[in-house]
Symmetry: C2
Subunit: 238 residues, 2 copies
Amino acid sequence: MTRDTSAVTEAYPFLPLSRDGLVDRVAHSLVNAILSGAIRPGERLAESQIARQMDLSRAPVREALRLLESSGLVEYRANRGFFVHVISATSIRELYELRIVIETAAVRALTETNPGALPGLRAQMAELHRLADEDAEMMAHVSADMQFHRLICEGSGNRRFLQVFDQISNETKLGLLVIGRLYDDAHRMAETHEPIIAAIAAGDADAAAAAIAYHIGVAKDLVTAHIEAQQQQEAGRT
Amino acid sequence: MTRDTSAVTEAYPFLPLSRDGLVDRVAHSLVNAILSGAIRPGERLAESQIARQMDLSRAPVREALRLLESSGLVEYRANRGFFVHVISATSIRELYELRIVIETAAVRALTETNPGALPGLRAQMAELHRLADEDAEMMAHVSADMQFHRLICEGSGNRRFLQVFDQISNETKLGLLVIGRLYDDAHRMAETHEPIIAAIAAGDADAAAAAIAYHIGVAKDLVTAHIEAQQQQEAGRT
DNA sequence: GTTTTGTCGGCTGTCGACAATCTTCTTGAC
DNA sequence: GTCAAGAAGATTGTCGACAGCCGACAAAAC
């Protein structure tokens, strides 16, 4: 073992250097561009153009795009290239229904087997309120909210739940960002997480499952309604 | 639409030429090699070697491998390349728990909203029994079994359920194939699907959910027990 | 004998180029 | 004026090449 970084006696105070390759950096850059709205849904993502702008060859760009494809942010059509995924109301509704199924199971497992996850969840709640105080940007709110739900999946102990959650989280964010603003009062939005935490703290798995199903269900209705309205608006404009 | 293959009047008896690109063909070839056991778990998949053997460049091979990575068949380590995924008992248990969650929700939706899916499920049952009569190969049984469950996800109406199912189906197959043989009597194995169909036919969503959860739960216990035994055996041999 | 250092073969990461394919624009016929 | 066919331009699909990185073994130092 020449490379055991967890060795008890660390000879030198060096942190491991970030080994992120080009592909990861390109992927990050693209995710940011899409989630920030700089690139709009439906828009074409020409690998040659991206490569030229980033001043590198097409190979890493192509791989990064394939990566984004598997997270649902980007769509690939054979011989046509990549396009930013266009979200439909149906697709988002189905996404939220999947989330209900996954997170319900996750919170149940967490409540029954891992109450030690509570402090982390409470801390994330505090972060949500802090952001509300600061009147932070939409993106920050969305990320913090998603992180709360991610902690639940992580705390379930089943890595598959987390894997599915991570796979759809970017798409969820995209859906939220497309509609702009959800709650007028960010504090009230944060508070809707309370019943979940209370049920976990009480050790009541059924109540926790019901609470999170309700919580996500409300979000589902809000988001799909928004998107349906937007789609109708767009259809009318055409 | 210059390419409507479903045209009513077919002028010539030509089958549509497979428009699958190189990448898809390479991916298929690799999946077969892995699921047939020709390449063992843990083995290295050197893109250069594969490319040489298939007589093409590394680019399509690399893309195919990235594709397999997202379906969990293959693992990627930076600067080291691709390796066939090694399945652990824990990982398989978590996989089956995810399947229970997804398919329970799917069968519930199917029962409540899409009883029209029943004939297809019954046909697939018949196929299972036919294979049992013919004493077919393990791989054929496994595929037919998975197809039954896929039909349930498909019939749920939620494309996300199907998406998740497809993503993990290859890994599930790999797990089943690694252990060799499961049931001594293939007919009995086929029959364990009966209660699910009966519940759907009766329109009882709760019963259908319970039936499929039980069905998958049994498989989970069998498979994890097998794999645990195998792992212990291997550990002892070292 | 054990640990560190140097070397080597093989593989991945990235590149630029060419061929195949699609899209768009133009042209021409009706 | 509309539609179809063809040409031009741009983009993807695939390729072969080269530099950098990795793991393994050999050599050297202690």
